[in-house]
Amino acid sequence: MRHEWTARERSILLHLLATETSTPLAEIAQAVNLSERTIQRERQLLEGILKEFELELAWQRGHGLSLVGKPAAKQQLREDLILSAEAIPTSEDRLFELAWRLLFENDTLKLQAVAKQMHVSPSTLTQDLEKLDRWFEEYHLEVERKKGVGARVLGYESEKRKLLINALLAHWDTLAFYRFVRGEDDYIPAFLKTVPCEEMLEGLRDGYDYLKSRAFERMDDRTIMRVTFAYGVQQERLASGFFLEMYTKGRSEDYLKVATDMEEALGITYSMAERVWFAEEANRLRSIKDQMKEDEEERWIMQIRVHKLIHHVSLIYGFTFTDDTALERGLLAHILSSMNTQALPETSTVKPHIDRDYPGLRSAIQQAADIVFGTNTFSEEETVFWAMHFAAALVKPVRRREYRALVICSAGLGSSKMLVNRVRQEFPEMQDVVNSSLFGLEQHRLEEYDVILSTVPLPPLSVPTLIVNPLLTSEEVQRVRHLLLSLPQSFQTLATKPRSTMLDFAELGELVETFERMDDQFDLVTLNNTDRLEDILLDIGTHLEERDLVQSGIQLSAQLLRRHEVAGLGVPGTKLALFHGRHASIEKASVFAFDLTTSIPLLMMDQSTEPVTRLLVLLAPEEARDIELQFLSAISGSLIESEEHMRLYSTGTKEDLRLLLHECMKKMIHETLYEK
């Protein structure tokens, strides 16, 4: 039984085959990149076709769609979907088709009519247009919409052509292009099959026949393709009445030779602007600067191809990888870097593991790679690496939506703990799983949870509730999943963490005690100094030793000196230096300020040298507590918070400095009170 599936039918059905329970329309729409309305329409069409497969497309309002039938029937459908023609258009193709139609429209493109031609709803088309905006922007093009009229593209002709050439490069792999120019009409990208482009296709064959016989320097396959595409696009543009703006650049006859030779050989006549444009396209790879630009474009093209690869792997393997941006980025980076690497690391050890744990994944990737990049473009070793990327995406917990669950049992001890563990195990997407006893229920703000799972019957509650066994059987797992999927969106957008309303006395007590001690110890001392930093630091060390803050003043001064030598400690634009250290000989975390009677030149943090009259000393023992380190950090941060702070830290009185320290303390207490 073979059916001519459309890409849309295929992606909807493969998505449904991958999920056992009902899937909300919104989720399918997002996964297959269509509007909900289009899916609804497709549903009615699909119902009839699926009868042939002895399958039913069940629709339940509020729950969504599911495929109902025997596993063998589902398998049969899956095979049929995969075996159906590879060249059927994808949503990506639809985007390019729309781009093509827009760029070849002389007037304003009527969106209603195009939606009909492309068999999509106007809202799907509107969504596509939004995606095009970002893409067009890269070429400085703008899609102008007129309500009730349509859309048109504003921008330079040369940029439009560049976009078209790159779109062709992204969608036409070398082998398919080779087959096409050898006369096999089937090998054109899907999106070109539905748009008028005869002039271009003819131009491509003529252009290729001529170019392949020319021995241009450094003409590799991609370059020949690029120049051929330039010629083809140019022919189609000219035939459709799109001419270039004037070219101001003068070019030598030698530079233009490639174009004039072409004109002669193919019996065409260019305007000067068109001649210069074509010559530029043909010569563009000659300069290093252009090559670099070329690399950027290659990256963009590769991005689209990686996108397509993921799309095809999803279809063949039967798992939606398409909304995993990390996978796309990872693969892109890998492929781009491996293109410049000669030797790949050994993969023989990983290969058996991947084949054992993910049967079918490598073959799906290989098939998809053949479709997207052409047969044998990448070695088997290379696809093993790709398989690792895909496998990583498979084991990653599904985090598309995050839920919070409250687990309840009568005592809140043994069985709910067990249930919590089972829930965590089965639902990695659960952001928070909190357990409680039945009597503790009142202490929870129920609106902060999406679902309540309980081992005991509960009074009626405002949150969806399920009664389950503490062991959470597989049947119950299905029920919970079902419930999660049917939750309205609004449940999932509440503020995140449940907030404890209790005061943490221990933490507050520790804060207050630490601050009180440091405030007591703080002092501003005036040193009758020489101009030698070593002497000043020794004075400081002795002073702090006397106050029992350090074990050895000499050791401390040596350490501060070394720190100063590593990098400047002066704060540029102030007369202040920030000496600091964390060392085993330091007994207690402390803050001190020392004023110098005579200023000394010191190295600043920006490596300049400026006079300094005050040293702020921040010290922490090796085993400093978090609170102490946080406080010292807060002081450092507060120093550069404003000009006023800088002024006060460098010239303020002892009271000014204490006020600044108190400000930092208050901030930390505030954070402990309200933000935890």
Partner: protein, 89 residues
């Protein structure tokens, strides 16, 4: 994203650097900036910054970058732009 700025003592230069980075990224990138020593880098971090010339930092998942000046607002501004360019495409 999570940014971690590392310095020798973990409470002066990196604390000031964190303030500057917050200033440079304000309204451009939404990020949580923490700081501390090279030894205490947390696991959940996307970008680590440290002073060029200091002991090189390694991390299994994060992007690690040395900066010429740990206290340069200008350098952080450029870095934020760079990060955005790279991750917006």
């Amino acid at each position: 994203m999570n940014v971690y700025i590392a310095c020798h003592s973990g409470f002066v230069t990196s604390a000031m650097a964190a303030k500057l980075f917050a200033q440079a990224s304000e309204g451009r990138l939404s990020c949580t900036i923490t700081h501390g020593t090279i030894q205490n880098i947390p696991n959940e971090v996307d970008l680590i910054l440290y002073q060029e010339g200091a002991t090189p930092v390694t991390h299994p998942t994060a992007r690690v970058r040395s900066v010429r000046q740990l206290l340069s607002l200008e350098e952080y501004r450029l870095l934020v732009e760079e990060w955005m360019d790279e991750h917006e495409t």
